[in-house]
Structures are given as structure tokens and as C-alpha cells.
């Protein structure tokens, strides 16, 4: 049983950890308040609203929970405690997430107390499959582990470009991996899904771009694992990231989910770029997110062959005309009705057309989109510095790159499937992010996505000198996440359990 109005109110406050501060006496309160309880009536209209979403806190006190209440049983055991912010001016309850606590190892709570923690956006607890999914940011991880604290600072743009391009990006994947068949794949923690990864990657993109979230006019979220059949992820992203100007409890922003298998996000790059280029618009920036908790049936079941390659993660890109780090030089898209991979409504896992997914599907579309765009822009493979193909497995991207005429040094920076698995809608966007993490100014990037069903989008991007300036603002690079010492490896059974979620 759940109550939608209650879930919404708790989410409205808890997803961003909204607080109020009395501008007279400075007392802070968790939740939104019209009055300060110290100052009373004179504080009316003198309460400043803020939130702890981009803050870091301190774990003051903690204890182990190993017999949780009914809605938390899937979390098994976790550390719970009191978390303080702003030097103890405000204290909230919270649980630590991303922890698998083993029964046989002693747990030293004293060593955890006093450590810095970062709020994470997660599912709140278990509900029935038909209910609204409750979320919250009263879940925390240690700032000195996988997910560092990063300040969000709005930086005034200095340069306006003639054409739109990418102004910032963020990649999010969890700290869990499974190692199998010579590759590593990202595994969500049990309270994560495509919605939480979309929000986290969008948050990282805002930090990287230094863009005021109020100036974002539209957000597109591409995913094929939205936990809802009807209800956008984009509305959650817009509300939690406060995209567009805030007007009471709504955001002045357009938000939409898109679906076209693994190209749901890349398809929207041109739309997002076109929108900021529209004359006389107040849309300064647009955000495109590709995020998936890539679905696969268990091994041995129909569609289970996908289980060897699926990953988890999201990538968010901000488009605009100011302080651009990569300009869009051109694009090409192709589509054909080729049913190589699909998921019927109501089915939990997608089906897969076996060998049919190779030549008539992936290779045909990727090759066409790459070659056509290079022809259009009078480019040869050797003119391209980085080639970013969609990566459903480690073999396909290498083969298609070689076929088109790319050398290993042109595509190896983009290969992320070996580290994160196939993140479906997030896959070629994460590959693009990996390249932007290492590219130099004035280099050409060719990114080609592939979506089953089927189609490809290709883009040629030219990096600018501002790429290097912004690089310092992002600690959560693709490499940082791929080679992080805090990665936790899980076995197959745990991987399936975590992936199915709460």
C-alpha cells in the first residue's frame, strides 16, 4: 500500500534534502519552513530555502541494522546513523548505501564515525511492483571512496560560439562490478536503477559544465529500462536537478523520455542542439541523458545470451552555445525496420535475434551512418582522431572500426564495454565521454550509435580549447570509475540479485 501524495511530498523534500535557514538567527531546519521556531512571527518571509544535494556531511554516530523493517529487507544489512551538515547546524538520519556487509567480518563502527559522507540519490525502499517508486537522498557513501564530493559552482560563460555543441557532461556508474569472460561489467547496487543513474549523471554534468540548472530548457532521457511503462524518468530528473526556473513546486522546463533501444539518447543530440540554436528562445541549455540498468534474462533462458554483456550506467550531456567544449560539425541518421532485439510490453527481459543482430543489423547501420557522414563532410577515416562506435560486446565495435578503416589508436580510447558492460542507451554516450576525457583541442570525434529495431545516428564533433579548462572540474571521469580502487566485485548470484533491485 502506498500513498501517492505522501510519496510525492517526501520525494519533493527528500530527493534534494531541502532545508530552510532563518536569515535572522541562522538556525537551519531540514524540510521547508515558513517560520523559524526561535524567531517566530518576525521570521515570516525571512526564511532562506536551500538544500544539501551538492553538500557533504559527516557521519556523527552510527549503528548496524541487520534486522531492517519490512520495506528494507532486500538491503539485508546496512549502517545507519546520524549525519550532520554545516558543522552540526543541521542533523539528519541516514543510511549508508553501496555496502554489502558480510556476517563473518567484524564491523568497527568507531572507525566510521567522523568520516565525511556524500548524499546519494536512491530508491527509498521496497514497494509493490504496481506502486509509485519512492526515492530519497538520505542514502550516503563515504567521500573518500568511489564517489567523491564535488562542489557545484555556477561559472559565468566567457565565450559564445556560432554553432551549438556540448558544454559539459557527466558519467555515472555504480561501484559494483562482475568480472567474467575477461571483461568487467558494472552492477547497480540494489537501490539503484536507470532513474537514479540518470539523476546522478545529470548532477555530474551540471558540476562539469558549471551551468546554472535554471537555464536548462529541456531534458531528454533515453532509456530502455525505465522502471515505469508510463511515467517519465525525465520528470524525476527535472525536479531533482531543478532544471529550468523554479516556480512554486514546478520547474519551468520541458522533459521527455525517448525510446529507440540503445540509440534513444544519441538520437536527441541534434534535437537538443537545434533547440538552443532556435532564434529568440530563452532555452540556453538542453540536457540529454542516456541511462540504463541493461536488462537481460538469466543465463540459459531465452534472451539469456545478453546476460554476458549487460552493464549499468548513464551519461548526461549538456548542449548550448556558450563555453562549448565540442562543436557539432554534422550528423547523419539511418533507420530500417529490422527486428533484431525487442522487448514486448509487460515482459521483464528483451529477446534477441541471435546472429541476425550482426550483419543485417549492427554492422549494416553503423557502417552506413559512419561512411555517409564522412562522405557528407568530405572526411576520410584518417582525418578522424577518435571513432566511438556503439558497443554491445567487445568484438563488434573492433570489427566495425576495422571494416571502416580505423586503426586501433583511433578507437581504443572509446572502448568502455570491457569495463562497464553494454549500458544500452548509455553505451555510445559513455564511449564519447571517455574520449572527451582524454581528447586535445581541435580534434575530430566520430560517434556512431546503434539502436535495435533498427537505426544509427552519427555525429562529427570538433573539440575546442575550453575542453581542457573544464576537465579539472570533473573527478568522476570514465577512467576514474573504471580503475577505481574502491570497486567491489560480486559473484553471479549477487549480480542477479542486485540487478533485479528492490
Amino acid at each position: 500500500m502506498s500513498s501517492e501524495p505522501i510519496e510525492r511530498r517526501v520525494s519533493y523534500l527528500g530527493d534534494r534534502l531541502k532545508i530552510s535557514r532563518c536569515t535572522i538567527c541562522g538556525k537551519e531546519y531540514f524540510e521547508v519552513r515558513d517560520y523559524c521556531s526561535n524567531c517566530g512571527r518576525k521570521s515570516y518571509e525571512k526564511m532562506a530555502l536551500a538544500d544539501l544535494f551538492f553538500d557533504k556531511g559527516t557521519l556523527e554516530l552510527c549503528t548496524l541494522v541487520n534486522e531492517p523493517t519490512n520495506k528494507f529487507t532486500k538491503l539485508e544489512s546496512y549502517v545507519y546513523g546520524v549525519i550532520s551538515f554545516h558543522n552540526g547546524k543541521i542533523r539528519v538520519p541516514g543510511r549508508l548505501t553501496d555496502q554489502i556487509i558480510k556476517d563473518d567480518k567484524p564491523l568497527d563502527l568507531t572507525s566510521l564515525e567522523g568520516k565525511e559522507v556524500v548524499p546519494r540519490f536512491r530508491r527509498r525502499y521496497m514497494v509493490n511492483k504496481s506502486d509509485v517508486i519512492p526515492t530519497i537522498s538520505l542514502a550516503f557513501t563515504f567521500a573518500d571512496e568511489y564517489y567523491p564530493h564535488q562542489e557545484y559552482k555556477v561559472i559565468h560563460p566567457t565565450k559564445e560560439y556560432k554553432l551549438p555543441g556540448i558544454v559539459g557532461y557527466g558519467v555515472y556508474s555504480s561501484s559494483f562490478r562482475i568480472q567474467e569472460g575477461g571483461i568487467e561489467r558494472a552492477v547497480p547496487y540494489i537501490d539503484e536503477d536507470s532513474m537514479t543513474a540518470a539523476v546522478e549523471s545529470g548532477k555530474l554534468a551540471l558540476i562539469h559544465a558549471g551551468v546554472d540548472s535554471a537555464c536548462v530548457g529541456k531534458v531528454y532521457v533515453g532509456s530502455e529500462s525505465n522502471p515505469y511503462a508510463v511515467k517519465p524518468i525525465a520528470s524525476k530528473v527535472a525536479q531533482v536537478l531543478k532544471l529550468g526556473k523554479e516556480d512554486e513546486d514546478t520547474q519551468s522546463v520541458d522533459a521527455v523520455d525517448t525510446e529507440f533501444a540503445c540509440k534513444a539518447a544519441t538520437s536527441m543530440f541534434k534535437d537538443a542542439a537545434a533547440l538552443v540554436n532556435y532564434p529568440n528562445t530563452d532555452v540556453e541549455y538542453t540536457m540529454v541523458i542516456g541511462s540504463d540498468n541493461s536488462q537481460a534474462a538469466p543465463r540459459g533462458c531465452p534472451g539469456g545470451e545478453l546476460d554476458l554483456f549487460v552493464g549499468y550506467g548513464g551519461a548526461a550531456f549538456l548542449f548550448g552555445k556558450k563555453d562549448v567544449i565540442a562543436e557539432i560539425e554534422g550528423w547523419y541518421s539511418c533507420t530500417s525496420d529490422t527486428p533484431d532485439f525487442w522487448r514486448r510490453d509487460g515482459e521483464p527481459f528483451p529477446m534477441h535475434g541471435g546472429r541476425f543482430t550482426g550483419d543485417p543489423a549492427y554492422f549494416k547501420h553503423v557502417r552506413k551512418a559512419a561512411v555517409k557522414l564522412m562522405d557528407k563532410l568530405h572526411l576520410k577515416p584518417s582525418d578522424i582522431n577518435y571513432f566511438v562506435p556503439h558497443q554491445p560486446n567487445p568484438a563488434f565495435p573492433t570489427k566495425v572500426a576495422k571494416d571502416i578503416g580505423f586503426k586501433e589508436e583511433q578507437y581504443k580510447s572509446a572502448l568502455i564495454v570491457n569495463k562497464f558492460g553494454n549500458t544500452y542507451s548509455g553505451c555510445s554516450p559513455m564511449g564519447l565521454a571517455a574520449v572527451l576525457d582524454v581528447a586535445k583541442p581541435e580534434e575530430l570525434i566520430l560517434v556512431v550509435s546503434y539502436g535495435s529495431g533498427a537505426g544509427s545516428d552519427s555525429y562529427v564533433l570538433r573539440t575546442t580549447s575550453q575542453l581542457l579548462e573544464k576537465r579539472e572540474r570533473q573527478k568522476m571521469t570514465v577512467r576514474y570509475q573504471a580503475e577505481n580502487p574502491h570497486i567491489k566485485y560480486v559473484d553471479y548470484t549477487t549480480y542477479r540479485r542486485l540487478k533485479l533491485g528492490m
Partner: protein, 400 residues
């Protein structure tokens, strides 16, 4: 207290699991006990004050007054509160105001009917945000203990002593319950058992540190002092009943090591009753956990903050059944406390008052304090939520 209200009779059921009984059967049993004791009949009642913490949730029973009316064929005013002390406080006000001279105060809870969801309900009602963050009914007790240990720098040998002292609280309460025929657990436990349970749960507090969930009811008949003297020869007077309130949200409170509400309620209770705190030797404390009993000793001013564990440790070495604090013997939870007597939330406060009344009347049977201890007054502390509300009642054999 002007127009001092008096308790002329008390009644209660056994606490524990009453699977076969409807909630109304329990309150009937408690009422009949009290009625028989003083000869007051239901037609004499002018009003009823009933408490239950969450009967509408556990038993899907709203308008509890209605079923009482059916049961008693009474149509007098009836009010429902969430704790026994709250009911008693309201009843006392009515008596003091001269509105009634004979009322029933009762409490009831039926927790085992919802045993599978009870911990979710308890935590959600205690503090929703803590629940949303993953809290359980036990966590705040454990966090308060950690805050206490940190604040007073207790470590090494002293920390071990504190842990033993907390275990001794549970052991003492279980010993007391062996003499209480109404108690949920009428058996002794050992310090080793308490500590072993903590180890197996991998936590600072274990199964034997916490009060159980229970079914049960309690009742008392409250009259004006004038009526009391005509009705029975040993009425017990309510010298004061006070309360104070604190935040729902434990982490947001200023003091994480003590219950501010208890301190405030006690301060007011002493002022109102004009009782000399030095004479307080008989106390019923709200030991939802062993930590709560320890902290409450400090909150009520019986010993200096940060020292209760020491006094408990030193005085419990030979299981004498009392704490010796600064040369004075302090008897707490002679009925077994919430730990062993049971904790049917809405009825718990009634069992505490029941015990103080029986002790003051000298009718506590096997549990009666040693003959050299003849307290003139006793004190009961009831807490709602995790320190969100505290009620302090001071009862006396005489009133001024």
C-alpha cells in the same frame, strides 16, 4: 495539588500474547479488577479516559469509545489518548476542576495481532524521516548509547563495566518479574545471556536489552479526595502529573545523550508536588531498552549525568534488586519493567501506576519493598515515541 485526585483502585491483565482475546475483553478484565477492589460499579462512572497508542492501526478499530459504550452500556463522555499517562493527566484535570468525582482511566494495546508489520508501524509513528532513511525501532537506542559513550569518554575497562551495567538492568528487571504473576516473562536471565545476545546480533544492544511487544490492558478508578476517603481506606493521591514534549526527529535534537522532555517534566513534577527528591526511592522507569532505564536515572536527577552506569554496576554485583546511589537505595521497576513485565504501549503506563499504587498501599505481595523501606511517595516515568513526550507522575500516600 488542589482538589487532589485519588486512585481508589487499580486493575490490569497479564501482559503477553493474548491471541484468543478481542481487545475489549482485555480492558473488561482490567476494569473488573479495579471495580472489584473498591466496589465502584460502572453506573458510578461519570467519564472514561482510555489510551491506546495505535489500536486503529493494529486492529483496524476506530472510535474505541464506541466499543466501550457497547461493553458497559455507558453513554458518559469518553476520550481517547495515546498513552496511559496522557489519559490520567486529562482525568486528573477534570477531577481537579470539579467536573467529575469518579472516572475510569484505562489503557489497552493489542500488538501481537499485527506482529509481522509492527516494527514498521512503530518506527513510522516514532519518526517518519528516520523510517524513510532505514531506521528500526532499535536504532535510536543504540545511537544514544554511542553518543553517551562518546560524550563521557567511556572506554576500556569502563566501557566493559557500562556494558555489564546495562545487562544488569535487564537481569534485575527479570528477577523482579519472577515475583509478578502478571508479567510477560516470569523467568530469570543472566548477564552472560544478555551479552551473548548482543554478540550474536553483532550490535551494542541485543534481544535482552529491549522490551518485547505485548498485548494487555490496565485500568484505575480515579476520584476526588473527598470521595476517595468515603470509598476506600488507603487511597493513593496523584500529587503531580506533568509532561513535556520534544522533536519527533531524534537526530535533529540538540542533546543526543539525554531526553530533554523527561528533564523538563521532572522539574515541573517536583515543583507541583513539592516533594523532596531526596525521598524518592520507588520509581517505575520506561525501560523500552536498558539504555533508556540508565539514561532516565540521570534525566530524573537521581544521579549526575554520565555516572548512572557506574552506580548500577557497583550496586548490582550481588543482585540486591536496588541501585545504591550516593548512599540511598533506589528501587526501580519492581514489577519487572517494560523489559520483563511487558510493553503493550497504551496500557504500559497503567501497569507502572498499578505497581506504584500497590507498593505504596503495601499490597505488592512478594514484590513489596523490604520492611525498612516505607516510601511516602513513588514516581512513574512514561515516554511516548523515542523521547518525544515524557510524563512524570508522583503519587503519594498523603496529600497536603
Amino acid at each position: 495539588m488542589q482538589n487532589c485526585p485519588a486512585i481508589v483502585a487499580v486493575g490490569r491483565t497479564k501482559f503477553g500474547e493474548h491471541y484468543g482475546k478481542e481487545p475489549e475483553k482485555l480492558i473488561e478484565e482490567a476494569w473488573l479488577g479495579a471495580s472489584r477492589e473498591c466496589g465502584i460499579e460502572r453506573k458510578d462512572l461519570q467519564a472514561c479516559y482510555i489510551s491506546d497508542y495505535f489500536l486503529p492501526i493494529t486492529n483496524k478499530l476506530g472510535l474505541e469509545e464506541g466499543f466501550l459504550s457497547e461493553l458497559t452500556e455507558l453513554h458518559v463522555p469518553m476520550e481517547v489518548t495515546r498513552s496511559f499517562s496522557a489519559a490520567l493527566k486529562t482525568a486528573c484535570h477534570a477531577i481537579q476542576a470539579g467536573i467529575y468525582d469518579t472516572v475510569l482511566v484505562g489503557g489497552i494495546e493489542k500488538m501481537t495481532d499485527r506482529w509481522d508489520k509492527i516494527r514498521d508501524d512503530l518506527m513510522l509513528l516514532e519518526d517518519p524521516w528516520s523510517y524513510y532513511a532505514g531506521g528500526t525501532p532499535e536504532v535510536n537506542h543504540e545511537l544514544m548509547l554511542r553518543a553517551y559513550i562518546k560524550k563521557y569518554g567511556i572506554k576500556g575497562e569502563n566501557l566493559e563495566k557500562l556494558n555489564v551495567a546495562l545487562a544488569q538492568i535487564a537481569v534485575k528487571n527479570h528477577v523482579n518479574a519472577t515475583k509478578n504473576p502478571n508479567a510477560q516473562y516470569q523467568r530469570s536471565i543472566t548477564v552472560e545471556q544478555v551479552i551473548k545476545a548482543r554478540k550474536s546480533s553483532r550490535k551494542s544492544l541485543g534481544l535482552f536489552d529491549f522490551a518485547p511487544i505485548s498485548d494487555g490492558a490496565s485500568a484505575l478508578i480515579l476520584t476526588s479526595s473527598k470521595k476517595a476517603k468515603k470509598t476506600v481506606n488507603n487511597p493513593i493521591y496523584v500529587l503531580s502529573i506533568t509532561s513535556a514534549t520534544d522533536y519527533l526527529d531524534y537526530p535533529a535534537r540538540e542533546d543526543l545523550t539525554h531526553f530533554t522532555a523527561t528533564k523538563l517534566a521532572m522539574k515541573k513534577a517536583l515543583q507541583t508536588s513539592m516533594v523532596n527528591p531526596a525521598g524518592l526511592q520507588l520509581l517505575e522507569l520506561y525501560d523500552q531498552s536498558t539504555v533508556m532505564e540508565m539514561i532516565s536515572l540521570e534525566d530524573l536527577g537521581l544521579c549526575q549525568e554520565g555516572t548512572a552506569w557506574k552506580h548500577i554496576y557497583e550496586s548490582c554485583q550481588n543482585l540486591q534488586g536496588y541501585y545504591e546511589i550516593n548512599g540511598k537505595k533506589i528501587f526501580t521497576n519492581t514489577n519487572g519493567g517494560l523489559k520483563a513485565d511487558g510493553n503493550p504501549l497504551g496500557a504500559t503506563g497503567g501497569a507502572q501506576i498499578f505497581e506504584v499504587v500497590k507498593q505504596l498501599q503495601g499490597n505488592a505481595g512478594e514484590r513489596q519493598l523490604p520492611s525498612d523501606i516505607q516510601p511516602q511517595y513513588g514516581c512513574s516515568l512514561e515516554i511516548e515515541g523515542f523521547g518525544t513526550k515524557s510524563y512524570v507522575s508522583i503519587l503519594g500516600r498523603n496529600h497536603s
